[in-house]
């Protein structure tokens, strides 16, 4: 099918199937008018994350993935099965040369390979969404940010907290003073998994397991913590000034040197400290961020969130109707993103959790930003700041020394 015919088919399909059901209250795309033709997008990097992105894009009305790029043929073909009719290319340069009408590019290559596709796509006038962290080196991250400044397009980094409806709700509580004075920040990412992946057909072991390569990988600090660091940047509206870290291989003693268990401590100018634990050796309590304040604690776990109130915290009227969950001897108020509407319908319990995975909302936010001509929830500049923090954390873990962060680096 030629590109024109495919576009016509997609328009016809959209007209035929009628209204797609999404939870419109939370979906950033719901408010957008239907497009006359779908937004044509391409994906660079068809590995695990690329396929997850395709799965979420396939849920969106008015988005058509028409091009895929990956140097590994079997991976590109596997992705093409999820994006029917998409053309496949060996690399991003070929994709950009062959797809002049493409509106946007999603970059899901390994972190150390973000720079070239992101910079080239921005230079070609494409809107760009880049997976987190923005880059594994400060040079690469700054080069992408410079390319974004020079381009009149939407540039976004996939920081999932900023577009997550539960996190937005929780932040509104924080900003309204529900926690009062913050006292303690604590977060973790625990998952028992080897982080070792089998190479695809035609792929080298080193390429498949780049996360374990100390020459290019930011380790858990980059691949996991960067997302969580950004949540604190967003909530606190400040960046760490100093980080300390330690890490070791506790479980996966297979010759790797990248730590499978890491502890970080981040210091903020306000005097707050954030303690983070990351491990590939244990799954207990998974991934969460908490902010403990004088009057309440927020606990955020990506597809759920709770507020635990101190006994002397004043009771708000809405709390009478709130859903509560028991955690050992603590009771948490479930944070429900569209609670007011659901409570009016007596359907509050149906609102627990997110209708879509957090990844959906960051992608949808980017698509909505293109449609509405507005900035995305997390632009390239903010992604740059989070990447610089993650890089500093990785340096602290690998050197064992405290790393100071220059506040000037975060200004712009």
């Amino acid at each position: 099918m030629n590109p024109t015919a495919r576009r016509e088919f997609l328009v016809a399909s959209a007209a035929t199937v009628g209204a797609f059901a999404l939870s419109s209250e939370l979906d950033p795309l719901a408010a957008l008018p239907r497009r006359a033709a779908p937004l044509e997008v391409g994906l660079v990097g068809c590995g695990r994350q690329g396929r997850a992105i395709l799965a979420e894009l396939s849920k969106m009305k008015d988005v058509a993935v028409v091009a895929l790029a990956d140097p590994i043929e079997s991976r590109a073909q596997a992705a093409a099965r999820r994006a029917a009719g998409a053309r496949t290319y060996k690399g991003h340069a070929e994709l950009l040369a062959g797809e002049k009408s493409l509106a946007a590019v999603f970059v899901a290559t390994p972190t150390h390979l973000h720079r070239a596709p992101a910079v080239d796509a921005l230079a070609a006038g494409k809107h760009v969404w880049c997976e987190s962290p923005l880059a594994s080196t400060a040079d690469d991250a700054r080069a992408i940010a410079a390319a974004a400044r020079a381009a009149s397009v939407v540039g976004a980094v996939g920081m999932q907290g900023r577009s997550n409806p539960i996190y937005s709700l929780a932040r509104s509580f924080h900003k309204a003073g529900a926690l009062r004075e913050l006292a303690s920040l604590r977060a973790q990412a625990h998952k028992k998994t080897s982080w070792r992946f089998q190479p695809a057909q035609g792929e080298s072991d080193a390429a498949a397991n780049w996360r374990l390569d100390p020459a290019v990988s930011l380790g858990l600090e980059g691949e996991w913590f960067c997302q969580q660091a950004d949540v604190y940047h967003w909530y606190l509206n400040e960046y760490p000034t100093r980080v300390r870290g330690a890490g070791s291989v506790r479980l996966h003693k297979d010759g790797r040197t990248i730590a499978d268990s890491v502890a970080l401590e981040l210091e903020f100018a306000s005097g707050l400290h954030l303690a983070w634990s990351g491990t590939l050796a244990n799954s207990y309590e998974g991934t969460y961020e908490s902010l403990c304040g004088e009057m309440a604690t927020l606990r955020l776990a990506w597809n759920a969130g709770w507020m635990f109130k101190e006994a002397d915290s004043p009771t708000q009227g809405w709390e009478v109707y709130a859903n509560r969950e028991q955690f050992h001897d603590e009771q948490g108020i479930t944070l429900i993103a569209d609670a007011t509407k659901l409570a009016a319908q007596n359907k509050l319990k149906e609102g627990i959790g997110l209708p879509e995975p957090p990844l959906y909302y960051t992608l949808a936010d980017f698509v909505a930003a293109i449609g509405a001509g507005k900035p995305p929830a997390c632009g390239i500049e903010e992604g740059l700041r989070a990447a610089l923090v993650a890089q500093a954390c990785h340096r602290a873990v690998t050197t064992g020394e405290a790393v100071a962060l220059d506040p000037e680096a975060f200004k712009r």
């Binding site: 099965r81 149906e350 627990i352 959790g353």
Partner: protein
């Protein structure tokens, strides 16, 4: 001559309110470990997708859908729903994810869409989702080059692929079954009547153990559920090719 030891790797995860376990054979060990982790990710993703308890699950999304809205599905969703609709029809409603409230959905195979005939369609895929998770996990294992594996979800659904036959006992003290390149599902009721007959909305009165064997774990699971509900007369209906049903009137301890 010493026999060459076959590399074996066991992995497990908690999902769908039960424990899934995978036993992989072949080698090398590092490849088995990464394959098992990828399969566990598939099981966990399947559990999140098909649970009726979470807002992001497909049953909740279907329940929120009203005509003329449609849901966009992926190929895996389509496969499970098509199999569920087939089993519902072939068992004359003895297998029914709507539990008698009306399995009022229509699939658009070409555009991979699901439409509902009314608002508020309430579905529970507990009678087929474990089989689906096993099928998806097995697919991932094969894609990773694993040649032989045995997988089970909560011991009531099991699947084996590869040349080896795995000897499986139904319950404690029940018959042994050689499981080779096919799946087994066991549904049982003993003691208090807890199984609902979706055709009458009444509790199933009999105690029994229903066993189904088929190449596809989802088909086996749907039919063992239906067999327990409908009783041995179900075997008189037109059955899917290569489906084997066993009715054990005496309940076997789990």
């Amino acid at each position: 001559m010493n026999a060459v030891a076959v590399e074996r790797h066991r992995a497990a995860c908690a999902a769908m309110a039960t424990r899934f376990e995978l036993v992989l054979e072949g080698g090398p060990r590092a490849a088995l470990v990464s394959a098992a982790e990828a399969a566990i990710e598939a099981i966990e993703a399947c559990a999140a997708r098909w649970t009726r308890f979470e807002r992001g699950g497909l049953p909740a999304r279907i329940a929120r859908t009203a005509p003329p809205q449609m849901l966009q599905l992926d190929a895996d969703d389509m496969e499970l729903l098509a199999l569920a609709l087939d089993a519902h029809a072939a068992t004359a409603g003895a297998f029914d994810p709507s539990l008698g409230r009306g399995f009022d959905v229509e699939l658009g195979a070409y555009a991979r869409t699901l439409a509902v005939r009314r608002a508020g369609v309430s579905l529970d895929f507990g009678g087929i989702a474990k089989g689906h998770a096993l099928e998806l996990a097995a697919r991932v294992l094969r894609e990773h080059g694993v040649e032989s594996a045995f997988l089970h979800g909560g011991t009531s659904s099991a699947l084996a692929f590869g040349p080896r036959a795995w000897r499986v006992q139904v319950g404690a003290g029940g018959p042994y079954i050689e499981l080779q390149r096919r799946a087994l599902s066991v549904s049982a009721q003993r003691g208090r009547a807890h199984v609902l007959d979706p055709r009458s909305a009444a509790a199933v009165a009999h105690e029994a153990t229903a066993v189904a064997l088929h190449a596809d774990a989802r088909v086996a699971e749907a039919w063992s559920t239906a067999l327990l509900v409908a009783g041995p007369s179900l075997a008189e209906r037109a059955l899917p090719a290569a489906l084997e049903l066993h009715w054990l009137p005496a309940p076997i301890p789990a």
